[in-house]
Symmetry: D3
Subunit: 248 residues, 6 copies
């Protein structure tokens, strides 16, 4: 059930049986020679919808632009400053909490969002406590990264055998190819697998990783891989969501 | 051309011939008994893509949650505070300006966003001037509301004959029915056309407009109207975009 | 009754019979060759006082500096960033709401303030709701632009016959001449009526409108026009204020 | 020379011979049984204009609402939070610095503003340095309290002989009586001279000082005292302003 | 009793008999040729601990970096912007108020902090009132500068006979020599006593006071002076703290 | 070399050979029945000083209060909101960058700080880029948690054999016992090892972990363990710091 495709009366009915909502969050940033700028948002949105279908959970609107300060040397990358993203998350959760939502399950598509998301959860808890005191609702925020579960990990290792890397990976490119088969790109890549390594700011990132990839061989991506990865992710995350709701 | 479905290299190429980008902005808020919570975001995104296709312009990611403080008494509505939305717009435009974009054409789906968008444009100009001084790039932001043009206005009058209203209108519901035919809702509405009238805050809105509509008869919405409205909007706004780019 | 010329005990007495207050807001910005930098603040303050006298309403302190980012290429112009003006309005209304004021009627002298004022109203409603919940007072903010009513419009058309323009207009200059007859300026203007047209940021404004006027012929201003315009505005706005207070 | 009564061209001319500007700042707060809510703004504005006339300095718009958190238990009092006032001062000085002003001489009417003004000066210096680096203009901000100089002190002691007190003083009430002779108030006060003493927050202030006065006997105020105090203040502060401009 | 060296259960016990806490605040900034960068933090922390020992009061963590915008032309100086320091103080006091602390006694080591501290107190009172309304706890904040009391003043005059000055003073250097005898520095100073004088921003400070001292002769500092000054300060401030707690 | 115990001239000299600085950051929060409220700040400060001594690096002032929103149900806990801590870190790094520091090595004592620290690094990079553009200095921020290295991990497993847990651990309590032998606390604990488990906000934390420990048996702490852990941490982190400085 998607919030954007529901009426307010349907949401009112949903709230009678669940206080949970799934919140996809992605990023708008370079993803190497053949990856889409929207890769992280597409993966988060697509998988979150699958989880919503599998579990009956309501799925909120995707946050399309995340924290991508380090990608800003590549055209098309967009970023919220961490402080802005915290404000956005505070307003999202705060809005939904007014209606009675209490369990916020973020499906995240971008490693760069993790720290800011976690910081935001505490900003939210602090504001909830300041505004409502001992009567504050029992808000609980959590995040899962779609690629961090046993099922997706096993499949990625099987499919790419050490060439997954950490940015512009064949896994995430495959998922976007499955989701948007009309937007599959091909691009020469040299070397086939990019070198691994860390980075500091945006200039440093581009200096170390000139075509945008880190440790990955996204030329291996295939839409049929994407389907398998999608299904693995939906299965794993649906179980995580159910366990989360069942927590005392 | 959609930013999310492009590679960074394609964006780099695009920037060689255009400094313009189309930015859809919607809202996540109640739209009466049969309107979708995502109506404004869906309309803005759908029409913006059509304009992008017609003009060759790049279309950025949709801002799905806007300024809807006054809708917060209806379940499912979400809002950014105006100050948060200003920060988001500042970061969006600021990010894109780093790559050389200079013409920001917002296609807006929600009347409640207009004031904050316009305020944000000046926040952006002020920051651009403060940071870059006399060498600041010539940034220009503008907005069009998809329903405010002669073509759409004529069609709405023809189709609804005074029952369009101002919120949860048959026009916007029709566009969403055309965009998402699997999500057409039916709901009893009494009276068929809601009373018109203003409002102040969220409680006042709900007191005056208890089912969420203002002056409208959205039971008249039809997907085939949506197609005609969509085509009218794309035609009119494509012309507006071209004129905007041609401005000295 | 002016807040600045009252004691706190007089305000306490006033609050027993009215929850309304009139808030003048102007700007400090260039107004062409013969217009005063304080034009918008002077008009708003002067007319607001007249409305207060006519209706018995309390008139608060004038906000002298508004949102004038686009005028900053002309010496003497001052501006608050939109985010600052929102904070100021939030504090003004929040202060007065502590005493029991609930109806905030802004008399505005500057078109550039409108978007930020409207954005601020929702920031105020959101904060009121967040802090006080269902027990929040029923705050209502509205704005009128002193020149936007039938009476002033008719008189302006009669007096200037299409040479009013939209910035540094003969109407507003006339009102300041009536209010401050010792500060009437004369200046050569070429052409007599400036070209009309839009603008983006401050540099763009000055490039397009090099002497600061837009579409206007302020050389036509006369203090006796100012008196007639003032009286028309006070009459019209007094009626608007009374209707506003009477609203359910 | 008042900024509000000048044209932009006159300001441009002024800047050829001076980089200095006088900035009045007051407050909107209770001033005891017979003091006006606008006392501090009136005194600052009135004396600042006198200093402008005496020295030829440009006088900017009065900041009418200052930092008066501690007065909020008395109807009619208004306050900016310190953080808001800092933002306002930063925007005021920042705006004027764009035109070339470098010497900001605040004439202050309210003790409660002093700490925030001084904090703001460093916020301004920090931002100036961050934005412009080693090329930043040499901005200098200072403040004088109109009552803190030998001339006014001597006169107050002569006139009130230990009954001046520290809030709602006969001196400041006298100045407003001279400035606004039509708004002279009379009120019974018991005791004639209020007890002195400190305070913490607004509730504590009202608990300790129930009619709003601190240590003062404002029933002694007379408009003719106001004239003498005004003249003393203008003389003393004009000398301070000249010395300030002459500083290396 | 130091908060950092206590368990939470000990704090719980403490709160049964006292609502008071001592909060040291210093600065990290140049202190002339032989003064330590941490001088102000060291003095505040050291003396605050002494006061805690003498009075049984709980002593919170030292704020080591204060408002030192004007020292930024000297290597090693650090500063919080005034707006940041206000936020820090608001969070410190807000945290402790959640546990029931109501009396916040800041022992300050740096003149540059005074204005921002005082501004912050009102930010705190305003937030307390906004969040908790009439039921807000009776929070009271105050500050003492360790050198501003009769005992320390007399001793400084006796020891330095007019060569104390106002920055990088022999008194404060002596206290740090007593606190950290292994970190006593020697440096040539020419002249022995620096010239006095004011300053505006950081560049202006360095231009006027090139080695960082103002009016002082810190070559006179001795650890045994430090001991006497420390004891005088502890005695005087302990009495101030007791009087503060006893205030109605 | 400690910044607080150096003169500005010594810092100037240091900067001729190194652009690196070590920044300890802790927290002020409950640490179970026998742990000190200052545990995390004490560990970070103590170990950072050791690393400074071992490597010759300059050590900045400890940030004593971190992000501990989840500990606020225990008396004595203090927290900065994440947004405040970001502002503090931005000001710290920004101040030091003005003097030429470019390598910021945070030694962290508190798991709850990690997300906000990482978010802050990107806030800092974004501001550096916005203010200085392509000429921005090459700032690099990193963090190490003192307990996350092979040496400390091995020793903890040897000493506590699965009873380390994740909050109020015997390791951190031991380090504080070594650092402050006069403040060793004893307290009955039931059970000896607390249950493990996650948490959401502060109320949830206390509900799940009523005496403040998570999975730990801090009754096992001994000062002589503390010495060994300290030495292991200093050794490991000194190597990490040297490697960090050597990075290209
Ligand atoms: Ni990705
Ligand atoms: Ni709509
Ligand atoms: Ni105007
Ligand atoms: Ni006063
Ligand atoms: Ni000092
Ligand atoms: Ni710990």
């Amino acid at each position: 059930m998607q919030l954007h495709l529901s009426t307010w009366a349907e949401v009112e009915t949903y709230l009678k049986t669940s206080k949970g909502i799934i919140m996809p969050i992605g990023s708008t940033e370079q993803h190497g020679p053949n990856g889409l700028v929207g890769t992280d948002a597409i993966c988060a949105e697509f998988i979150a919808k699958g989880v919503g279908d599998a579990t009956g959970a309501l799925v909120g609107p995707t946050i399309p632009v995340g924290m991508a300060v380090h990608h800003m040397e590549f055209p098309g990358s967009m970023t919220l400053k961490p402080s802005t993203l915290i404000a956005v998350l505070r307003d999202y959760v705060g809005s939904l909490a007014e209606h009675g939502f209490q369990r916020f399950f973020f499906v995240n598509g971008h490693g760069g969002n993790i720290a800011t998301l976690r910081a935001a959860f505490y900003e939210i808890y602090a504001e909830n406590r300041a505004l409502r005191g001992r009567d504050a609702p029992d808000l609980r925020c959590t995040l899962v990264n779609w690629w961090e579960n046993g099922e997706v990990g096993r499949l990625s290792r099987e499919l790419y055998q050490g060439r997954e890397g950490s940015h512009a990976t064949p896994s995430e490119v495959s998922v976007t190819q499955y989701a948007y088969p009309d937007s599959i790109k091909s691009a020469a890549m040299e070397p086939e697998q990019a070198p691994a390594g860390g980075f500091y700011d945006a200039r440093d990132f581009r200096r170390r990783h000139p075509d945008g990839r880190i440790g990955s061989a996204p030329g291996l991506a295939r839409p049929e891989h994407g389907q398998r990865l999608y299904e693995a992710a939906v299965g794993a995350i649906s179980a995580q969501y159910r366990a989360y709701l069942a927590e005392q």
